[in-house]
Symmetry: C2
Subunit: 154 residues, 2 copies
Amino acid sequence: MTQCEDHEECISTAIERADRICFQKQLKFTDLRKEILRLIWEGHGPQKAYDLLNKLQKTNPSAKPATVYRALDFLIKNGFIHKVASLNAFVGCSHPLKHKECYFLICDDCKNISECCDPNITAAIQATTAQNEFSAKNTTLEISGHCNECLKQI
Amino acid sequence: MTQCEDHEECISTAIERADRICFQKQLKFTDLRKEILRLIWEGHGPQKAYDLLNKLQKTNPSAKPATVYRALDFLIKNGFIHKVASLNAFVGCSHPLKHKECYFLICDDCKNISECCDPNITAAIQATTAQNEFSAKNTTLEISGHCNECLKQI
DNA sequence: TTATGGGGTGTGATATTGTAACGTTGTTGG
DNA sequence: CCAACAACGTTACAATATCACACCCCATAA
Ligand SMILES: [Zn+2]
Ligand SMILES: [Zn+2]
Ligand SMILES: [Zn+2]
Ligand SMILES: [Zn+2]
């Protein structure tokens, strides 16, 4: 499920990275936003908004849907997480600021999700948009199927 | 909005094509399924399920959400339409059976949507999935931005 | 012929996902 | 301090999607 070695470290690395970036960019990384980001990374996979809400309510019983969605909006807008449109779920970005165009491999079996941000894909997409005289603002590329680990187990 | 010359013909072409394919593949292209496909093509753009339901209720007052979703499932499963995950909407496929991998350019202004199924993109994606030892079953590629027509009008 | 089974549909209820609106609180810069 | 604005609390609601169960139709087999 999680392919990291030490997941506690994996989480805290992500939080600290966000903390640093928010400081640099003068963004308000409030406790609430930090908590949602932590919950997303704790899952280390696509997390559903209402699952996050349930978890948040453990420490913040008065939390409401809007509480979660507003934090998610902030985190998405600033590149700390991505929305996975095909799953209606949210996943932490492993390299915020590097680039906007993140592509995903989603395993239908183990639900693991990994980024596969190949520049060759970006180039191919750019060539196509150019050819169509289309000015691209946002790209959603989500590939579902079976990961290597799960294929082995069959 | 619609870039076709004669939209009535555009619609009927799509319906007849589906009719033919269903006959060949022994699929049951019922009146209901045909009507939903027609409604989707009449919009000639991404159509929302509940808008389709409202339209369907004009001729079929007792239609319910499940009525629409079941027809959509059939149409998707057999390649006649695609779900646009980033919009929660459904769009007719302009070339059913040709290939499964359809990519979309979605204009945020005029809401027009066009398929841009470039083999170079497919190749780039395949190279990446192969490199990640990932067995891809389904690809969602949706590019939002501004189309040529809308850019001109600024 | 009747029995049987499966696919498609009708129908009501419910689950899941996401927003709008408005007031309050807190921070920040003048 | 005060004004402005962002963040948050809270309520209500909208939008999207699925489940469960009954019923009908039709093809096939007994
Ligand atoms: Zn990313
Ligand atoms: Zn897997
Ligand atoms: Zn298509
Ligand atoms: Zn346009």
